[in-house]
């Protein structure tokens, strides 16, 4: 049998990749990077780096960057809540998770954005849990019915309760790490167990160009020491906060990511770290940052290729849209992004459900995007030789009446070779009319209701839940929040 080829999208030649990395090294060495965190500055000094205390600028030698690259693992294993199901983050494995930290939700009934509340967050987590093409969940909605101070830990608190999938999350404040870590430890049953079987990824976003704020640096350090994988989210905007050319933005992206890798490795050698980002093309007319722009996706795909060249697991914000409603723009931008991401072999693809420049989640879109992700996953399985010979035997003695529907060969392979979507419309026109001429958004809305009604939530064991509650309550109390919203199912 001929080996199946994994279809691949690559924008850069090896020579181009090396040149980009070369310039990134030079920037780190000669211009440096800002690190607004005392602990990290101390680590840099101990590693013999030149540190300008006044400006908090650190110059990173090529040697240290290269050492950090070689001590960072090329594969990360994540485990679901039970600790039994393993997900490999690395090589060309692809995992989709919903886009994170939306501050609004699109209300299907009114077609308007509104502030999400806990009930929306619970629905979002439950849906993510039961939609098959999302391997990971994300703390994708910032619930407006709890004070901002605890909105980071609260998102995780709800996520862990209502989905068994590994979770992509992150802190909004330095103090947020501890309660969030405590919750993960509670679920896993011990700090060592958590380090051994990570359940969460923590996102850390540098501020472009080339600056690590106190919060993100601390998140990198704390995560590294706890064995939690950090995801580096560089987000240059072409021509605004990074060079306007795609290759120029890649240089900055690589420099920022490299410096992030160095921080994690200084905090703990061998700490898991993911080469990721959320850069975007900057619209010079509107002053906005379109995530659905083809140039945004080209940047994502290209830095992923570079991340792979550096032997690191990769992440990108793809498979999302800037549309404000579930229209064709929402589908086309998400579709192109998801397929490009999968073909690029991005290991963690965050984006589904998201719209309006990474600010809004839609439950309906989450359902539609699940199908898009399914299609993308099918595409990268490639085309296989299933039989020897391939098919010539099927034509032996064929006549004008020959058809394939009843052949055992068809029965044997049709489910392997072809996928069957849920809410994508493949009906005949008349049948579609008879069903009420529904749009995909309408069908998705019905599917949201059906899934929530028919799928029992994957709840936590009661004793662990009690422990989580205790952690959440004490965090809330420490922040002066006396009560939390009642969760109704």
């Amino acid at each position: 049998m001929i080996k199946t080829v994994r279809p691949k999208l690559e924008f850069l030649s090896k020579e181009f990749i090396q040149k980009i990395i070369e310039e990134a090294h030079e920037i780190l060495e000669k211009q440096g990077v800002f690190v607004e965190n005392e602990e990290a500055l101390k680590l840099f000094k101990e590693a013999g780096m030149r540190v300008d205390e006044q400006t908090q600028r650190v110059y990173i030698t090529r040697q240290l960057a290269e050492d950090s690259l070689s001590s960072a693992p090329s594969i990360i294993r994540l485990y679901d809540r039970t600790g039994e199901k393993e997900f490999i983050v690395g090589k060309d494995h692809v995992h989709f998770d919903p886009g994170s930290a939306a501050i609004t939700i699109l209300d299907h009934k009114t077609s308007e954005e509104r502030k999400p509340v806990s009930e929306d967050l619970v629905k979002f987590c439950r849906l993510t849990d039961c939609l098959e093409h999302y391997d990971f969940q994300s703390t994708g909605i910032v619930s407006s019915d709890v004070p901002d101070l605890i909105s980071d830990s609260y998102r995780l608190y709800i996520g862990l309760q209502f989905s068994a999938k590994p979770v992509v999350t992150g802190t909004f404040r330095v103090e947020g790490f501890k309660p969030m870590h405590d919750m993960l430890v509670a679920v896993r049953g011990g700090e060592e167990n958590l380090a051994e079987k990570p359940l969460a990824i923590f996102d850390a976003c540098p501020s472009p160009p080339l600056k690590w704020s106190n919060l993100t640096t601390q998140s990198l350090i704390d995560s590294a020491q706890a064995g939690i994988p950090s995801e580096l989210i560089s987000m240059g905007m072409t021509g605004a906060t990074s060079p306007v050319t795609i290759a120029g933005t890649l240089v900055q992206h690589v420099a920022e990511n490299l410096s992030g890798v160095v921080i994690t490795q200084l905090a703990k050698k061998g700490a898991p770290v993911i080469f990721g980002g959320s850069p975007s093309s900057f619209d010079m007319r509107k002053g906005t940052t379109p995530m659905g722009a083809i140039e945004t996706m080209m940047i994502d795909s290209a830095y992923t290729q570079i991340g792979k060249y550096l032997n690191l697991p990769t992440h990108a914000y793809m498979g999302l849209s800037d549309s404000k409603i579930n229209d064709s723009q929402a589908g086309l931008e998400t579709g192109i992004g998801a397929v490009m991401a999968a073909l690029s072999g991005v290991n963690v693809i965050s984006g589904p459900g998201m719209m309006n420049f990474e600010s809004c989640q839609s439950l309906e879109k989450l359902v539609v995007d699940n199908e898009i992700c399914g299609m993308a996953c099918r595409a990268i399985e490639g085309i296989s030789q299933r039989d020897e010979p391939i098919a010539k035997n099927l034509f032996e003695g064929f006549t004008q009446e020959t058809q394939f529907l009843t052949m055992p060969h068809t029965r044997k392979w049709y489910k392997e070779e072809h996928t069957f979507p849920g809410i994508i419309d493949r009906d005949t026109y008349d049948y579609w009319v008879s069903l009420g001429k529904k749009s995909i958004a309408d069908r998705a809305s019905e599917e949201v209701d059906r899934l929530l009604k028919e799928t029992p939530p994957s709840l936590l064991d009661d004793d662990i839940l009690q422990e989580l509650r205790k952690i959440m309550d004490s965090d809330a109390k420490a922040c002066g929040v006396s009560s939390l919203p009642e969760i109704k199912l």
Binding site: D148, F172, M284, R285, S359
Partner: protein, 216 residues
């Protein structure tokens, strides 16, 4: 070079975003002892207005817009000390205190608005990003400002805009300053809800609204 020639070249330099030329012409005007406010009104201002037109027509994009605004700023930097020397103040449409509110480090949008306001004849005092809320009020008081412009990119920080409006009320300064709000999560409804005087969805609209509030 006669005055007409200078004025014409000033306009072109602004439209083309030629910073060296804009500043050289400002120095030339000083050398020739021209009426500097007249030069600003008839040379530079028509230039920036033309830039606004080109933006409206969709010919100019942000890089052209902001480069021209920066040229304008450069010219004023040369001219202002001369005007002060002559005890003439540069004509100003009003004094603006601008900044991104506490907890928010995003300043691209704010910078665009600051540049455009300054280019359009407002005196802009930019407090930067992550600005303590009290500082907006203190600075406005100290500078005897006309406008307070508050930028916020995050929903969590846009509350800061509301707090500044409340702070003004507490200090019995409501109505003393016109408060303008902007930023990705902000909209007209939010501006109305918190009692701000205006909201602009982009830098050009911000200029239009600020001008309108001055009664122009």
């Amino acid at each position: 070079m006669n005055k007409e020639e200078i004025l014409k070249r000033m306009r072109t330099a602004i439209v083309e975003g030629n910073k060296d030329e804009t500043e050289a012409l400002a120095n030339e005007a000083i050398k020739q002892k021209l009426d500097l406010n007249d030069v600003i009104d008839k040379g530079y201002v028509p230039g920036i207005e033309k830039v606004g037109d080109l933006w409206e027509k969709g010919e100019y994009f942000l890089p052209e817009l902001i480069t021209s605004a920066e040229c304008m700023k450069g010219a004023m930097k040369v001219l202002r000390p001369e005007l002060e020397k002559a005890h003439v103040s540069a004509r100003s449409k009003g004094k603006v205190i601008i900044g991104t509110v506490e907890g928010d480090i995003h300043d691209i949008g704010k910078n665009l608005v600051a540049s455009m306001l300054s280019a359009n004849g407002f005196q802009v005092i930019d407090l930067g990003a992550d600005v303590k809320l009290e500082k907006f009020v203190e600075k406005a008081e100290a500078e005897n400002a006309d406008f307070i412009c508050l930028s916020a990119l995050l929903t969590t920080t846009m509350l800061g805009q509301k707090k500044v409006v409340e702070m003004l009320k507490e200090k019995n300064l409501a109505g003393r300053y016109k408060v303008l709000v902007g930023g990705a999560p902000v909209n007209q409804k939010w501006a109305d809800d918190i009692g701000a005087n205006g909201y602009g969805e982009n830098a050009m609209v911000a200029v239009r609204i600020t001008k309108k509030l001055t009664g122009e």
